[in-house]
């Protein structure tokens, strides 16, 4: 979700407001990878991440009439993603989450599309799983801040805008999150 506008963003938004489903599909196609990554790193479950991803886009779809066209789409969608992710974590059953996350995830859950080499896949899967377990320890705001930073390569200011938090607070979140991740991932690094 880069801050820059899509070349035809105004036209796409206009078409969505007129009920053009293909225009909305184009927006989904453009942004769903990033939204899914954030959703997955926040929930730790592909099924939950998929639901969350759908919720984000449905909310966006229903709110398009309120979208300020002077702003780019990316940050608007990012803000919706942050709100939905934090709300999702607030509302779900914590005990159930811990139980699910402590179990070993099936290999195919971590396998990215299009990858070929089996050993490489296994290695990636293990690394990704270890990262997820380390992320799960972090408090949700820290987890979200660090996820946004590395999924999207955002600056502290951009993260603060998306999370509607002061820049210094975000700096602290990022610092603490990375310190903790370094401890948890010491064997990996």
């Amino acid at each position: 979700m880069t801050v820059e506008r899509l070349p035809d963003e105004d036209a796409i938004v206009e078409r969505i407001l007129e009920g053009d489903r293909e225009a909305f599909a184009a927006v989904v196609s453009r942004y769903h990878r990033v939204v899914f990554s954030v959703a997955y790193r926040m929930t730790g479950s592909r099924a939950e991440a998929e639901d969350l991803c759908q919720e984000v886009f449905l909310r966006a779809f229903r709110s398009f009439h309120r979208f300020d066209r002077r702003m780019p789409l990316g940050p608007w969608l990012r803000k919706i993603t942050c709100n939905q992710a934090l709300n999702h974590l607030r509302h779900r059953n914590i005990e159930r989450r811990i139980l699910i996350e402590q179990t070993v995830r099936p290999l195919e859950e971590e396998v990215p599309d299009g990858a070929q080499d089996h050993e490489q896949l296994l290695l990636q899967s293990e690394r990704s799983g270890r990262l997820q377990r380390a992320l799960d320890i972090l408090p949700p705001p820290q987890r979200l801040a660090v996820t946004l930073k590395y999924v999207e390569d955002l600056t502290t200011t951009e993260i603060a805008a998306a999370m509607e938090a002061p820049v210094n607070t975000v700096k602290t979140w990022l610092l603490r999150a990375r310190e903790r991740l370094r401890q948890e991932l010491a064997d990996e690094l």
Partner: protein
Amino acid sequence: MSCEQALPLLYDLADGDIERDNAVWLALHLAACRDCADELAELRKTEAFLSSEMAVAPPSGLARRIAQSAELAQRSRRRDSLWLGLAALVAAACLIVLLAPVSGPPAALTVLWEQGASAAHFFATLPSSGAQALIERAPGLTEKAADFLPGGVSKKLTSILVAMIAVQLLGSVWLLTFKNSRQRAGNGS
């Protein structure tokens, strides 16, 4: 500069978000402090790991499923709007009929006429409270005539309107229940 002061600046440096003066002080400190230099090297490794592992590939077909669910939501919203519009129309019609004063209908006047022309004329020109008093005192007036008191409404008409509202309400409840159960089924799948 102490190591405690240098630590947060290491993160600022790694983020490319360090002020010029701080950068100078930190460079001087790093040249003299092996521990902080090692810390920066470790931090850069962490950064590289997080950057490479944080993004997750979405399941294939996710974008298509999201676009489809948006399409369903759009259809559902149109149907709801239509239903609500119809409900509002019926409710408005009911209100108009219920609140509109009913002038003495011919059937009531006919009954009164049978009690004598002068009584009918007298009854028609009385205010509603006077007419009520007259009905209570006059044994010859039927219930049918009482239904058509000025400002009142036919009991049959009221029954029809109440039935219409009930059907409308039941329809709305059914629609909402059906929609919620479908939504739950959709989330569960």
